[in-house]
C-alpha cells in the first residue's frame, strides 16, 4: 500500500519490520511449518519490494 502510494522508503521500512518479526517467530518455533513458510514469504517480499 505504501509502495503504491509513492512512499517506497516507508514501504521498505514496513517490509523490513515484517521480516524481523517473521524471523523472530520462525527461529523461536522451528517446528511450526506455517511460521517457516511465512519467513520464506518475508524473504520473497524483501527481494521484490
Amino acid at each position: 500500500m505504501l509502495k503504491a502510494a509513492g512512499k517506497p522508503a516507508e514501504a521498505i521500512k514496513a517490509y523490513e519490520s515484517s521480516l524481523a518479526i517473521r524471523q523472530k517467530l520462525a527461529y523461536a518455533n522451528p517446528t511450526v511449518t506455517q511460521l517457516q513458510s511465512g519467513l520464506a514469504l518475508g524473504y520473497d517480499n524483501s527481494a521484490s519490494y
Partner: protein, 134 residues
Amino acid sequence: MAWRSATTTRHLTEQDGQPDEALKAYGLASAIRQKLADDYPTATEFQSDLATSHIHIGTLRRDTGQAAESLKAYESALAIRQKLAREHPESPDRLSDLGENQGNLAVIDLDARRFEEARLRLLDLKQASCDLQF
C-alpha cells in the same frame, strides 16, 4: 483464471539495482522451502512453494542476463510442477502453474533463438489453457 506471468515480477534489480541482494533473499526463501518440501513430501503446498522460489530465481537470473542459470531454475520448477499436475489433474491451479512455467521457458528459448523449442513449449501452454476451460 488469469495466467500469472513471471515477467510481471519486479525485483530490486529493476528498481534499485541490487540484484545480488535480491538473489540472496530469494535463496534464503528457497532454502527454507526446500527443507519444508523435503520434510513433507506429500504436502503439495510446500512443493508448489518451492517451485515458486525456483521461478523467482529464474526470473531474476533472466533479467540479469544469466540465461543458462535461468533455464536451470525454470527447469527445476518445471519438474516439480509437472509432477504436481500429474498427481492433481483436478486442480486448475496446478495446470495454471505448469502453463506459466512453459511460458517462462519459452521466453528463454526465444531469447536464444531456439524457435522450435519455444514453439513446442507454447503449444503445451496453449493445451494447458484449453484444458483449463473444460
